[in-house]
């Protein structure tokens, strides 16, 4: 343990080099831009810039690339709050309360809360990496297919019955998502499913296309119907908004801690930042006393998913370094970079490449502090965007959405798909079907199905494998409780109510 601190101190000396600090600022700015543009995700950004870093030392290079990653994590929140378009998968849950806040003219508060919670989440995750890295790596190894499925199961369950709409509508929406997720190659049998001989459908429906369409285009259609009135233009540009919001945040300490734990856990296992953000939002809604108001612009509804997403995004780097398994697509690209620099991620990296590992960990601390300062100074700037008349901003959003959809696979067909999803999103919203379960199912449906079938393969078809050890049983049990919670609480209140008041 003490060794860790000595190493970390040494790491700070490496990361604190002025050139490296400059790289951090550059990386964060690039990352924010990448995060803002939907479609051009962190993974793409890192992949594009990877070759540029070969002339640097491995430590400087990974500092630059990981800062792009932090920047993208920060930046994903911006479009979610302002335009209801999640720039990254993990910011979908941020739109639920972030965008209503922007519509009420509180965009500055929402952005500050999002950025600050991101920072808190990341910081806790780094602390965890510093203190318990080897332990955590060992924990991650215990996750086989059954455990992974249990985690996805928990993520889905914490959604059913949680939304304002009746549970049946949530389930319908989720099932549409599962059906869309099933299109493409079936991983377990190696056969094509539901492609109807069409080459365009080989790759299935990309989550980003669906989200850009459902949220982005759907939102524009709704706003147009309401007479091009873009609520939120009353946003006041005020530098003090940051301080005012900060003063209110400590009230949500319980939500923060809970989200940090969920985030770290999801990042390590490696389920990733997306389920972490959904789960944290779902549970916060259950547990918080403001829960009823979630979805109408509750600041706690921004704090919960952002904290968890960032904690997960950061801790996802741990399995990559310690086990060689990337916890996120961006981590996968970073992993490729490590190999080119001659660093072999795996159990020996922490022993053989101390300078590099601790330099990286120290740069996580510094990078996130730098990141927070950079993004907070941009809050008033971004909030000001909402003052531009909607008739000007709408075409710009449309074009950005189209470019984003095209960038995902360099495919014009995806732009058409995005428009179709836009209409679908509009129809679902008008008929009060919640969009979030649909999105969750598209993102996780494939992985959940894969984990489920891998588990059954290894157990020879017995469902008992999901109750075969304490770890998996506990997670499954939590899932069932989450799914049945509305019924349980209903029952409890009925038991209580017969007594005369």
């Amino acid at each position: 343990m003490f060794d860790n601190f000595v190493n970390l101190w040494h790491g700070f000396a490496v990361a604190g080099d002025p050139f490296n600090i400059l790289l951090m600022v550059v990386g964060i700015l690039l990352g924010v831009i990448i995060g803002v543009l939907p479609g051009l995700g962190g993974a793409n950004g890192v992949a594009i810039l990877l070759p540029l870093t070969f002339s640097m030392s491995p430590t400087s290079a990974i500092i630059l690339l990981s800062c792009i990653y932090w920047g993208a994590l920060f930046g994903g929140a911006i479009t979610s709050v302002l335009f209801n378009i999640p720039g990254e998968p993990w910011s979908v849950a941020t739109t639920f309360d972030g965008h209503p806040m922007a519509r009420q003219g509180k965009a500055g508060e929402a952005l500050t809360a999002a950025f600050t919670s991101s920072f808190v989440g990341a910081f806790v995750a780094i602390l965890m990496i510093t203190l318990v890295a080897p332990l955590v790596a060992a924990f991650a190894l215990r996750f086989g297919p059954a455990e992974k499925f249990a985690v996805y199961f928990l993520a889905f369950c914490s959604f059913v019955g949680m939304s304002k709409e009746p549970p049946a509508k949530t389930i319908v929406s989720m099932m549409i998502g599962f059906a869309l997720a099933a299109v493409g190659l079936d991983m377990v049998t190696g056969q094509l499913r539901l492609t109807f001989g069409s080459e365009e459908l080989l790759n299935g429906f990309d989550f980003l296309i669906a989200v850009i369409g459902l949220f982005g285009i759907g939102e524009i259609l709704l706003t147009m119907e309401e007479g091009l009135e873009f609520r939120g233009k009353s946003a006041k540009i005020d530098a003090k908004v940051v301080l005012r919001t900060w003063a209110s945040l400590p009230r949500y300490w319980a939500t923060s801690i809970r989200s940090c734990i969920i985030g770290c856990w999801m990042g390590i296992t490696p389920a990733g930042a997306t389920p972490a953000s959904f789960m944290a939002y779902g549970i916060a809604k259950r547990v918080s006393k403001n829960g009823k108001n979630f979805g109408n612009g509750e600041i706690e509804g921004v704090v919960a998913p952002e904290t968890a997403a960032h904690a997960a995004g950061t801790s996802a780097l741990l399995p990559m370094l310690a086990l060689g398994v990337p916890g996120s697509p961006t981590a996968a690209v970073l992993l490729g970079g490590l190999l080119i620099w001659g660093l072999q991620p795996g159990p020996m990296l922490f022993v053989e490449q101390k300078d590099f590992v601790w330099g990286l960990i120290a740069s996580m601390y510094l990078g996130n502090v730098v990141g927070l300062i950079v993004v907070l100074t941009t809050v008033p700037l971004f909030a000001a965007i909402l003052r531009i008349p909607f008739s000007i901003i709408a075409p710009v959003i449309l074009v950005i959405c189209a470019i984003g959809a095209y960038t995902v696979n360099n495919n014009v067909f995806d732009v058409v798909m995005m428009l179709v999803f836009g209409v679908l999103g509009y129809v679902l919203k008008k008929t009060n079907y919640p969009l979030a379960p649909l999105v969750l199912a598209i993102v996780l449906g494939d992985s959940a199905e894969e984990a489920f079938r891998q588990s059954l393969l290894s157990s020879g078809g017995s469902i008992g494998i999901f109750w075969s050890n304490p770890l998996v049983s506990t997670i499954m049990g939590l899932g069932l409780v989450a799914a049945l919670y509305p019924m349980i609480s209903n029952l409890l209140s009925r038991l209580r109510s017969p007594q005369p008041a």
């Binding site: 550059v26 700015l29 690039l30 993974a43 992949a47 594009i48 990877l50 070759p51 540029l52 070969f54 002339s55 190894l141 215990r142 996750f143 086989g144 297919p145 493409g184 190659l185 079936d186 991983m187 377990v188 049998t189 190696g190 056969q191 094509l192 492609t195 080459e199 080989l202 790759n203 299935g204 086990l323 060689g324 398994v325 990337p326 697509p329 996968a332 690209v333 992993l335 490729g336 970079g337 190999l339 080119i340 001659g342 072999q344 991620p345 795996g346 159990p347 020996m348 990296l349 696979n409 360099n410 894969e450 891998q454 393969l457 290894s458 020879g460």
Partner: protein, 337 residues
């Protein structure tokens, strides 16, 4: 920051222009815009790692006047990437790296393409396969492991591998045939994940490529039993204790008569000129001489056979027949074929 970026781009353009003006007028063909490098697999896998290393080497040593851009098109077991190349007729600014899915995907899924729909450029290397078990398991040799599989009922031993009806499962079926026992094959998305599932004890063995499992071996988490090649690997650098790649026996010598090597080759779209193909053959010859490439070959214990032209085409024809035979025996051919 934007200025900084623009400055960089400007410099690049200027360099590019300068490079072009130096060229004699009647020079052979050279790329005039960025070249797309299609990877018909996801990020982080063996093919992707090799493509990104190539991109790095070419950029670092300035082997090409324009940029090389890696694009992953993994849909339909790589079919998406291969169809893209097949449909980009006569476009010399596109190349694709192959895995065994060049042969297996059209056979298993019926997606309409064949290596003959593209222009073969060169074989860069062949990837080896090694039989791995968890280091905590008692099996020290392939013979001991084989005996354990034979002694247990069908399906007791679990083999983890990448994808379904692709190279890992083909090898698994060949092992089953050789031993006369069934194993349970569990497909995962990528080689790195497979290696970790083995370390975590969720499967009994894997047939990971060397580069996918080497770090776990160095950490003494997994143990190599035998290599699916005719002869032992030539690399003698120590990896764990006194062990090196060269100390792994061949599977054949251990009584498991299974051999399999995977192509890492480069193809171009159909209809490109001989001059254009020659440019890329020459480019990859230069890449092979760089120290970074040598290091990659050593780390991944690759078989460094290089082929181009007619020799490469002959090899491909033979490999296709072999795969058809293997897939047929295993019952992996799609109904449409």
């Amino acid at each position: 920051m934007k200025n900084f970026h623009a400055l960089g781009l400007g410099t690049l353009t200027a360099l590019g222009l300068a490079a072009m003006s130096i060229l004699p007028a009647a020079a052979e063909w050279k790329p005039t815009k960025p070249v797309e490098f299609i990877v018909p697999a996801g990020t982080g896998g063996g093919a992707d790692q090799m493509a990104r290393t190539l991109q790095g080497i070419i950029a670092k040593h300035e082997l090409m006047p324009t940029q090389l851009i890696v694009i992953n098109k993994s849909g339909g077991a790589g079919g998406e990437g291969f169809l893209d190349v097949k449909n980009s007729k006569a476009n010399p600014h596109k190349i694709v790296i192959t895995l065994s899915n060049l042969f297996t995907t059209p056979l298993a899924t019926g997606i309409p393409f064949n290596w003959k729909d593209m222009t073969p450029v060169a074989m860069l290397a062949l990837d080896e396969f090694v039989l791995w078990v968890n280091a905590q398991d008692p099996y020290k040799t392939a013979q001991e492991y084989e005996a354990a599989i034979k002694a247990a009922p069908d399906g007791t031993f679990k083999m983890g591998g990448t994808g379904s009806k692709q190279e890992d499962q083909i090898i698994t079926v060949a092992i089953e045939k050789a031993l006369g026992k069934k194993m349970t094959y569990i497909p995962y998305k990528g080689g790195g994940e497979v290696a970790v599932q083995l370390v975590g004890g969720h499967v009994n063995s894997t047939v990971n490529n060397p580069i996918e499992a080497v770090s776990q071996w160095r950490g003494d988490k997994v143990r190599p039993l035998c290599v699916f090649d005719q002869k032992q690997l030539p690399y003698t650098d120590k990896i764990l204790g006194d062990l090196s790649w060269s100390s792994i026996p061949t599977c054949k010598s251990a009584g498991l008569d299974v051999e399999y090597l995977m192509l890492r080759g480069i193809f171009m779209p159909p209809g490109v000129s001989d001059e254009q193909v020659a440019y890329f053959v020459d480019l990859f010859k230069k890449v092979r001489e760089t120290p970074e490439w040598q290091q990659l070959m050593k780390d991944g214990a690759f078989n460094q056979t290089f082929m181009a032209g007619a020799e490469f085409k002959d090899w491909l024809t033979k490999a296709e027949t072999t795969h058809k035979g293997l897939m047929q025996e295993a019952g992996f051919i799609a109904a449409a074929n």
